[in-house]
């Protein structure tokens, strides 16, 4: 095509080479069609670009023990970990440092659990508010309800027993529940100890048991929990737990760092300096004989001599601890208001 070079030249049109009109029109039509295709692609592309953009994928939300109150942890088979806490959450993990996942709980009641206990490698019991008792026979992977009573407005605080013998659960307002069938059914037992809160129960062998509770309550049983004898008060604050060191040596602990020890199954008591004035809510004895107590503000105090003297390992000032237990490898697992911690272990990857 000869380009037009002059401006304002009326004859310019004549320099355009004439051609047959028909094919020219069809040619221009197909050309426009291509043009429209290009524009169409641009339009489609633009629309595609501005369509709602995909939002980035985040890990799925799941309840995590480190973000809630955990009141008890256990390692039933020396490998798997189980933890019980707030709002009826039960967790299990394949081991220290492994991610936690929620155990199946049927039915979910949402009552806060206060203690988890394994009578053997597979039989687990978890107790909590509303007299809720859950039972597991698979080392804590799944849990079934064994007892629940929301009407009473009571809370179970402690559970102890053996897989062969009776199992005991104690709780608020003098509640003592007993099971003779590996925790499948539970019956209340009258103790004549009044309606003070029972915070802890423990035993040694088949016969000797002791329970502690509110306002200095300490009671013992030497007939496997059939009958209970209240011991004379020696402290007016509450005891939150106890440890059976031997048939005659027992240690009770409670508020404001109070620790008392007996070497005659409760006939006489001696106050021990726990090296803290903060309340102690949980404790354990390790296989090598150390006694570790934990409590208010995250205080940790330890005895290397069977509970005669204590040395504080960690100050308070943080969040409170509710329990401590020893793992198969000798490390300690702590639970409390900030979930679970195993000092010296890599942190569990937060979300699986």
């Amino acid at each position: 095509m000869q380009p037009v070079t002059t401006i304002n030249n009326e004859s310019a049109l004549r320099t355009v080479q004439p051609a047959e009109v028909g094919p020219r029109q069809s040619h221009s039509r197909s050309r426009i069609l291509i043009g429209l295709c290009i524009v169409g692609l641009v339009a489609a592309g633009t629309v595609a670009s501005f369509l709602p953009r995909p939002s980035p994928v985040f890990p799925a939300s799941s309840a995590q023990p480190q973000f809630m109150l955990i009141n008890g942890a256990a390692q039933p088979d020396g490998e798997h970990l189980v933890a019980a806490g707030e709002l009826g959450h039960l967790f299990h993990s394949k081991g220290v440092g492994q991610p936690w996942s929620e155990a199946t709980v049927a039915p979910r009641r949402g009552s806060t659990l206060t203690q988890v206990f394994f009578a053997d490698k597979s039989l687990g019991l978890a107790v909590g508010h509303d007299n809720w008792i859950l039972r597991s026979e698979d080392a804590g992977l799944s849990w079934q309800e064994a007892h629940f009573d929301a009407e009473a407005a009571e809370a179970l605080m402690s559970v102890w027993g053996s897989a062969r013998g009776p199992l005991f659960a104690t709780g608020s307002f003098g509640r003592l529940l007993v099971s003779g069938d590996r925790g499948k059914t539970w019956q209340p037992r009258d103790t004549d100890l009044g309606d003070r809160h029972f915070y802890g129960i423990a035993g040694h062998g088949q016969q000797r048991l002791m329970l502690v509770g509110e306002t200095g309550l300490v009671a013992r049983s030497d007939d496997g929990g059939q009958s209970w004898q209240r011991l004379p008060d020696f402290y007016n604050g509450s005891f939150f737990g106890l440890i059976a060191l031997s048939a005659s040596d027992w240690l009770v602990y409670g508020m404001r760092g109070k620790v008392f020890r007996t070497n005659d199954f409760g006939e006489s008591w001696r106050e021990i300096d726990a090296d803290t004035a903060l309340s102690l809510y949980g404790g354990t004895r390790t296989r090598d004989g150390r006694i570790v107590l934990v409590g208010e503000g995250g205080v940790v105090t330890q005895s290397g001599d069977g509970g005669l003297t204590f040395k504080r390992l960690s100050d308070g000032g943080g969040s409170s601890l509710s329990s401590v237990a020893e793992l198969a490898d000798g490390r300690l697992i702590f639970t409390g208001q900030s979930g679970i911690s195993v000092p010296g272990a890599p942190a569990a990857s937060p979300i699986p």
Partner: protein, 802 residues
């Protein structure tokens, strides 16, 4: 014919303008003087609520409950002990006490909501055999003895403020203060700039070798933005100098250079003068508008002076040249400006006041330019004489400009197809990248500043030292129609408790604070602090134990718990995180049962009661949602408006497609660039596409108008017409693109990140749009057979007679 009528009207306007040029000039000068005088009254006008999309449902909740639950507008002053040991020493505690007092007395601070170790709301609870008692952590008779310090240390440990008011490592302590929007004493709006100054004074007074002070919060943010803005004038100057140099290099005439600069400055002066008269100030967000107006002003002045110069070079006298350049430029120029104005007007649709003000200021500025640039400039030109220097550079008339002629080859079908394919390829890449664009902020810290700014360093230092962050999203739970105190109803408290627990397991949540959490602390405290008691009992009577937590003074619930808030501290305020959080919250709400097992309606329906969202993160989430929502709406509006305008002007769908398609490609590329540069789509960057498209359409309109004119009036074919268009307007268009890009690109060095982001993106838009207009536009014109039909039909009409 329509076009003829239009042309006649423009002619008449030109006649009128030239006839009355003397007194019009006088009027314009007078106006300039008046506006220059009023412009001195212009003030910076920052405001917290101006940056919030108040129409968004989240913000409805936010404003409804902001009295009951203040805290979104919060200042944190952290004193960090750099000496030996921890904060429990006389020197530090003295500084903390005095600094607390000073913060307390800053006007605009809500004095009931100042917290530090020295305020009466910081208490500890001690459990004893007789019960428990509480007191302030620093005893009234604190004298600074070793024993006193030990007491404070113990009390603080028991008060639970470690991680909240005291650094987790005990080496710093915080003063937390909430601000009011209106000062109740004076009834005036709180002056953030004054607060920022007062806080700076606190920093200056108490910072020492041993104590470091970090301050964050909205007023500090505004203060730092304003000091960052002072650099703006430097950038303005730089842009001005660069523009001057480029202008002179382009037109080789000092007079024309000065004239263009003056004329480009006029709308800026008029705008700054008009704003105070209309009751507006300059929002920090809109501070860039004067630049933009100046740049656009230069670009239009160049088009006009260039047209005038061509006329003068062709032998016309100044007056005739001014007359004819008005005739030629007024319609496309005014139309282009209207398109700009439309682009900015579209921004006003975003329901965030500071963005709306940006739209209003920019829109107004551009409309003023129609007067200054299209009317005043021809008048000034009519009285000018072109220097000889400008004459010399002209190539002899009639000879083809080799570059433009080569460029016009893009109208050859093969080249055009190549250009189109390349553009489509770029578009494809752009689409892939642009899908990665994120709404909201990217990275941590205040998005207004760069990561290494003092504010963001302070921010990082505070966030790193405390368990609670500074980014909080709050959910309001309404519990209406309950008998007595709703906090004593297990169904209500349990729902909130479960929600709080759920949120703790959501990725991106740092911590959660709720009324049930505090109630559980109270219930546990009532039971000797035993954590095993920290659970919600099912009876109202037992819930009474947590009564301390239901105190409305704590700011977590209203009287009677008809409403309570759940505070969700987030790990960051990235757009993606906030989006994830809000969608998880909505999912939780949706999943709650409406009926119980018996099929009856539950006592407390979560879906009716939980309302998003307050807190600064709530504001950001709402802003992000508003921005995301506005993006598409804005694009549809601006492209729709431009389409309509182009259609009205050219009466040709081909023209519309030729002009719009390149703009669409560039918009996609702009989004892709944002994704590549990690710039999020947010309040500051959302207007960029609209601004870019609004300004970018100029090139297309100017060029296409000439192409059309050449084809219709001169009977040229497309290539010739495009060559002519480029010869007459192309240089000016490219020059304009370069000047404007350089002008806005200087912002890239701004200490303010939002300015830098805007600068980079606008520079990109301005520059790349011109490529779209000179390459893709003619290529499309070729394949859409622009001009082809006409020559064919003319041929058809002519040939029988031939």
């Amino acid at each position: 014919m329509d076009n003829n009528k239009n042309a006649q009207m423009v002619d008449r306007c030109a006649d009128l303008l030239m006839a009355h040029r003397r007194w019009l000039l006088l009027l314009f000068i007078l106006l300039t003087v008046v506006f220059a005088a009023t412009a001195t009254r212009i003030k910076l006008d920052p405001g917290f609520y101006k940056m919030i999309p108040l129409q968004h449902p989240y913000m409805q909740t936010f404003t409804e409950y902001q009295k009951a639950f203040p805290g979104a507008n919060r200042v944190l002053v952290n004193l960090r002990w750099k000496g030996e040991g921890d904060i429990y020493n006389v020197q530090f505690l003295k500084a903390l006490r005095e600094a607390t007092d000073e913060v307390f007395f800053i006007p605009g601070v809500d004095r009931t909501r100042v917290s530090s170790l020295f305020t009466p709301d910081t208490r500890f609870i001690e459990v004893t055999e007789q019960g428990f008692y509480g007191d302030v952590v620093v005893p009234a008779k604190f004298g600074g003895t070793e024993q006193d310090l030990a007491t404070v240390r113990r009390n603080v440990a028991r008060s639970g403020v470690i991680g909240r008011l005291v650094q987790s490592d005990l080496r710093g302590a915080l003063i937390r203060a909430d601000l009011q929007e209106i000062n109740p004493e004076t009834g005036d709006k709180v002056d953030y700039i004054e607060i920022a100054k007062a806080l700076d004074a606190v920093r200056a007074k108490y910072a020492s070798e041993q104590i470091e002070i970090d301050i964050i919060g909205f007023p500090v943010l505004i203060g730092d933005i304003i000091s960052g803005l002072s650099g703006v004038f430097g950038f303005f100057l730089l842009a001005f100098v660069i523009t001057t140099v480029l202008l002179f290099a382009y037109c080789r005439s000092l007079r024309l250079t000065l004239l263009a600069l003056v004329v480009a400055l006029l709308p800026v002066i008029w705008l700054l003068g008009l704003l105070p008269l209309l009751g507006y100030g300059i929002d920090p967000m809109s501070i860039l508008v004067p630049f933009l107006i100046f740049s656009i002003g230069v670009s239009h002045a160049v088009q006009m002076t260039n047209a005038w110069k061509l006329e003068v070079l062709a032998g016309a006298d100044s007056l005739a040249a001014a007359h004819s350049s008005f005739r030629r430029i007024f319609v496309p120029g005014a139309l282009a400006l209207l398109a700009n104005a439309l682009g900015f007007a579209v921004i006003m649709r975003i329901e965030i006041d500071s963005v709306r003000e940006l739209g209003i200021t920019a829109c107004l500025g551009v409309l003023l330019m129609i007067i200054t640039n299209k009317m005043m400039l021809p008048i000034l030109l009519s009285g000018m004489r072109l220097e000889n220097s400008a004459h010399r550079t002209r190539t002899a008339g009639g000879k083809r400009h080799p570059f433009w002629w080569k460029l016009s080859a893009v109208t050859n079908p093969a080249t055009a197809l190549l250009v189109a394919v390349v553009c489509l390829g770029l578009l494809g890449l752009g689409i892939a990248e642009s899908r990665k664009l994120v709404v909201g902020d990217i990275g941590s810290g205040a998005p207004e500043f760069r990561d290494d700014s003092r504010y963001n360093q302070d921010n990082a230092s505070i966030v790193g030292s405390y368990a609670i962050g500074v980014d909080v999203l709050s959910v309001v739970v309404e519990a209406k129609g309950f008998e007595g105190d709703a906090c004593l109803h297990y169904s209500v408290m349990d729902a909130v408790d479960r929600f709080a627990t759920f949120m703790r397991g959501v990725h991106g949540v740092q911590s959660v604070v709720s009324v049930p959490d505090m109630a559980k602390v109270g219930i546990s405290a009532n039971n000797e602090g035993n954590p095993r008691w920290a659970a919600l009992p099912r009876s109202s009577q037992a819930l009474q134990q947590g009564a301390e937590a239901y105190n409305p003074d704590l700011g977590m619930n209203t009287q009677g718990c008809t409403a309570m808030q759940v505070l969700i501290y987030t790990r960051n305020h990235e757009g993606a995180t906030l989006h994830h959080l809000t969608s998880e919250i909505k999912r939780f709400i949706a999943e709650q049962p409406k009926d119980n097992e018996a099929g009856r309606a539950v006592e407390f329906r979560v879906a009716d009661a939980f309302r998003l969202a307050g807190g600064n993160a709530g504001v950001m989430a709402a802003t992000n949602e508003a921005v995301e929502h506005a993006e598409v709406e804005m694009l549809v509006a601006i492209f729709g408006a431009i389409t309509l305008m182009c259609f009205l002007m050219f009466r040709s769908w081909k023209a519309v497609l030729c002009i719009i398609a390149p703009l669409a490609v560039v918009s996609v590329l702009c989004n892709a660039l944002m994704a590549v540069l990690d710039i999020g789509l947010k309040v500051a960057t959302l207007p960029v596409v609209a601004l870019g498209v609004g300004v970018g359409v100029d090139y297309g309109i100017y060029l296409f108008e000439r192409v059309k004119h050449q084809i219709e009036h001169e009977g040229q074919d497309l290539r010739m017409a495009f060559y002519e268009a480029m010869r007459q307007r192309g240089t000016a268009a490219i020059f304009t693109a370069v000047t404007m890009s350089v002008g806005v690109a200087t912002w890239a060095f701004s200490p303010l990140k939002f300015q830098a982001d805007m600068g980079i993106l606008l520079a990109f838009m301005f520059l790349v749009n011109v490529f779209g207009a000179v390459l893709l536009l003619p290529a499309l014109a070729c394949w859409l057979n622009v001009g082809g039909e006409r020559s064919a039909s003319k041929l058809h009409a002519v040939s029988p007679s031939a």
